[in-house]
């Protein structure tokens, strides 16, 4: 046989295949100075309009494109609300009118001046647009019909007329959320289509006065921000911020170790452990606002028995999970207010105690039973469900685990059809009322009430005293008293509630050693880039 030719061709082909990559060796790289490169899962963004954005990654972007009347200091989140575009504010004697005075000399990215008119219009717009975050403002009695009167401006002052004398901290905390962002009215109206208040345009563009401008947003791929040179608090140190969508933790880790990115935000505990020996990178732990909880539907004949609710609190292996698959990412937290919030409590009275659970159940005559949990296809949730399943089996209870996609679980949950729910709740704004109103408030437990509160979704008829206490806490002007009210509510809540907070989120951001002043926004806010430097 003399078929030499094909053999030679084959070798040649494979030689080229091997040699091509060899010839362009790209050794350890470093991101350009003045550019901050972040790997993050950002495929949840559906809009960058502050009046619509309500996803974690979307808010991360909006926070840096826009300023708000009042805001948090990225270097001192604990200090709470500080003046921002408003340099000060006054509350009327009856507590129902708040007047904010605008700062002079601030300009939008378009060059237009930031006026009281823009600020008032932005709030009116959010209310009239009536997208997901509108309720944050509507809490103060604003409706699409009355908001033009209730939110007004006069010269350089913005005037808010509330329907109740709400606590000043409550109002300001809400104004500091993304929906309170001040938008460039002239620019946006120039892009309005029909009655959309420029929503279609603003969803993919920016019209803010914040420290960064939007350079590009390619969905599921990347968000690029450019520093705004004329920012009123000084141009940010990072001229460019690039957030890349990298789904896989291991890929984020590789990119970080190769020096192709500065920050990796979604590392699994395994990967965090894997890089701890690496001198070039560091890991920061930051407590975030999200709560991992378990909801027991009060429609279920077994789960609605008080003994069952109490026993379940002892069947959760808090420490065991915190030390194993939740390691470094979640810490035990048994209150509905996250640590870092006004009124947040760090009392964690329950422990994993099978004997105690068995005794409680035995006293109530419960020796067997079966319940179902519907779990999203997220590894942690499934692990929690399985741990719970094992613990329940020891006291004669069976937990059936059904796995579904996020959208399917949410559908069933909204229809009040999930017996045992395991999942996360993220606060909507920086005030304690955000969680109190969902965990401990349910004004109408009817099936057709169609509410979004977690208490309603779990069919829990919250006792009337607790409903009233939650409402009263929004009106308490004295902040110290207000804090005490929330502590009291949480104490009562722990005794009886069938929606059991278990863990609070810790965000582990891994970054190059030279990245300074990183913050993911703590428990009260979203990520902020303007103070970040690279040495």
């Amino acid at each position: 046989m003399q078929n030499r030719f094909p053999l030679r061709a084959l070798f040649l082909a494979s030689a080229i295949g091997v040699a091509a990559p060899l010839s362009m060796s790209a050794a350890w790289a470093e991101t350009p100075a003045g550019t901050l490169v972040i790997a993050h899962q950002i495929d949840d963004i559906i809009s960058l309009d502050p009046g619509q954005s309500f996803e974690f990654s979307g808010q991360d972007v909006v926070r840096n494109l826009y300023d708000r009347l009042v805001d948090f200091d990225p270097l001192d989140l604990k200090a709470g609300i500080k003046p921002s575009l408003a340099q000060g504010w006054e509350v009327s004697e009856d507590g129902k009118t708040i007047t904010l005075t605008m700062r002079d000399g601030v300009t939008f990215h378009s060059g237009n001046p930031v006026r009281a008119e823009d600020a008032a219009w932005s709030l009116q717009r959010a209310v009239k647009l009536n997208k997901s975050p509108a309720f944050i403002l509507n809490q103060f009695g604003f409706t699409a019909e009355n908001v033009d009167e209730r939110v007004s401006f006069d010269g350089n002052r913005v005037i808010l007329q509330l329907d109740q004398p709400y606590a000043q901290s409550f109002v300001l905390n809400c104004l500091a959320s993304e929906v309170g962002s001040v938008i460039d009215k002239e620019t946006v109206l120039g892009h309005a289509e029909g009655e959309d208040f420029g929503n279609a345009w603003l969803s993919t563009n920016d019209a803010g006065s914040g420290p960064f401008t939007l350079a590009a947003w390619r969905p599921n791929e990347a968000v690029q921000l450019a520093a705004y040179a004329d920012y009123w608090q000084g141009a940010p140190a990072m001229a460019r911020v690039i957030v890349r969508h990298v789904q896989e933790s291991s890929a984020q880790r590789l990119l970080l170790e190769q020096g192709d990115i500065d920050v990796a935000r979604n590392l699994t505990p395994t990967d965090v452990e894997g890089i701890t020996g690496n001198e070039a990178v560091k890991v920061t732990d930051e407590l975030r606002g999200r709560i991992l909880y378990m909801g027991l539907s009060q429609k279920d004949p077994l789960l609605s028995q008080p003994a069952m609710i109490e026993a379940m609190k002892y069947l959760i292996d808090y420490k065991g999970m915190e030390a194993s698959f939740l390691k470094g990412q979640w810490k035990v937290h048994q209150n509905f207010l996250p640590e870092g919030y006004l009124g947040g409590s760090d009392e964690n009275p329950w422990t994993y105690d099978i004997e105690k659970a068995r005794q409680i159940l035995g006293d109530a005559g419960i020796t067997s039973g079966t319940v179902t949990t519907v779990v999203r296809d997220i590894r942690e949730y499934l692990d929690v469900a399985q741990t719970l399943q094992a613990a329940m089996a020891q006291v004669g209870l069976t937990l059936e685990i059904q796995q579904m996609t996020g959208a399917q679980v949410l559908d069933a949950y909204r229809a009040r059809q999930v017996p045992v729910f395991i999942g996360e709740w993220g606060p909507d704004y920086a005030d304690p009322h955000t969680n109190a109103s969902t965990f401990a408030h349910n004004p109408n437990n009817a099936d057709d009430a169609g509410l979004s509160q977690l208490a309603w979704r779990n069919s829990w008829a919250v006792p009337e005293e607790m409903n009233q206490a939650v409402e009263a806490a929004t009106l308490e002007g004295d902040t110290d008293k207000r804090v005490q009210m929330y502590l009291d509510i949480q104490k009562d809540y722990r005794e009886i509630a069938p929606i059991i907070p278990m863990f609070q989120k810790i965000e582990q951001a891994a970054m190059q050693q030279n990245v300074q002043n990183w913050t993911s926004g703590g428990s009260v806010s979203s990520v902020m880039y303007r103070q970040v430097t690279k040495e």
Binding site: Q2, P6, L10, F54, F135, I242, V246, A251, E257, D411
Partner: protein, 365 residues
């Protein structure tokens, strides 16, 4: 040369079909037109059928697209308003007609999972997949075909054994794992290739978008550094996809060749004293070209659908990830738009292989 007849390539010397007779030009033109019309009709029917099926599946799927729009915290009133705006309160056939009317006007609607116009999204994600699929198929063909031919020619030899193992591994290895290992080795340890993503940070967004294929765009801009960078990023995922299509193509090539090599005309050719090289490449190989093209087109088509796992591992913003994500969100505008693109590709590939058949096989003319 009388060889073609003996060697099983009839047609060239045989009777000419009636339509091809000189003087029958009008009839031929009519036939051509009819076949063009037929092609267009089959394209339209295929796409219509695809859209209809996808639409119905999308609507009966237990995923609520409204929730994606209004968010988890929406009140019932906000939910109802969005439900109406999206036209979901109308019967399915009306929704479908409304959608088709918009598509015919060239409007694929807005994606609810990205907030962008679907057409704009597709223009971004499809070239990413196309670039990867073309390079992957190129690798698959350039390596897979010779490998398959040699394996058949030296059946049972060491090269055949190697080819068998290579193909078997290619079939059975999870692409997810292989991708991560590849990244770890070639990017993490050796530093030979670029990391996840289509481009390095420095080049990101620096080359003007013309075709959306970064390799082509950077060449058109004359930016060699950007080209090298893009190549270093695509080479690993393309090799991975190439490996998978290689496994399939080499196995199919081998079995086609074996069939031919046992045919009588090969025996005849050998008896006549033709060199083995000529027997294999000139006679036997030419006869497997037609089925081989089908195999290659199919394998290219499957790469065009987007390899979701490869795209996830390599943070490759392609159409596979796009459609999958949209489907999970109940974002039917995006799913349908993607379906149209992929459906059109398949029809086009079919058409292309039809044309190639006619060129290569006189019987099909």
């Amino acid at each position: 040369m009388a060889q073609p007849d003996i060697l099983g390539q009839p047609g060239q010397g045989g009777p000419v079909p009636a339509g091809h007779r000189p003087g029958a030009g009008g009839a031929r033109l009519r036939r051509r037109l009819r076949s063009l019309g037929g092609i267009l009709l089959s394209l339209a029917l295929t796409l219509l059928g695809l859209l209809l099926v996808t639409f119905v599946i999308g609507r009966i799927m237990p995923i609520d697209p409204v929730l994606k729009v209004v968010g988890e915290r929406a009140t019932q009133a906000q939910y109802d308003a969005a439900y109406q705006v999206m036209g979901l309160d109308k019967p399915i056939w009306q929704q479908f007609l409304r959608y088709m009317a918009e598509v015919l006007r060239g409007d694929f609607g807005r994606s609810i999972s990205t907030g962008h116009a679907v057409a704009q999204d597709l223009l971004r994600v499809f070239p990413a997949t196309l670039e990867l699929a073309m390079l992957g198929t190129l690798i698959g063909v350039c390596v897979g075909v010779p490998l398959g031919v040699i394996a058949a020619a030296r059946r049972g030899g060491w090269l055949d054994q190697i080819a068998r193992v290579v193909a078997l591994v290619g079939y059975s290895m999870p692409i997810f794992w292989l991708g991560l290992m590849g990244l770890l080795l070639f990017y993490g340890i050796l530093g030979w290739v670029g990391g996840p993503g289509r481009q390095g940070i420095i080049h990101d967004g620096m080359v003007p978008t013309v075709t959306g294929l970064i390799l082509v765009d950077s060449l058109m801009a004359g930016d060699w550094a950007a080209f090298r960078d893009a190549f270093s990023h695509i080479v690993l995922p393309a090799s991975l996809l190439g490996y998978f299509s290689l496994a399939y193509i080499s196995r199919m090539t081998r079995s086609f060749m074996l069939e031919q090599l046992s045919a009588e005309y090969v025996v005849t050719a050998r008896v006549k004293g033709l060199s083995e090289r000529r027997v294999i490449w000139t006679h036997a190989f030419r006869n497997i070209l037609v089925p081989l093209i089908t195999v290659i087109a199919l394998s290219f088509g499957s790469l065009l659908e987007g390899s979701v796992l490869t795209e996830i591992v390599f943070s490759w913003p392609g159409i596979g990830q796009y459609i999958t994500k949209a489907l999970l969100a109940g974002d039917m505008n995006a799913v349908l738009g993607g379906t149209v693109v992929i459906g059109t590709c398949f029809v086009a590939l079919n058409l292309l292989s039809d044309i190639l058949y006619r060129l290569l096989d006189p019987r099909a003319r």
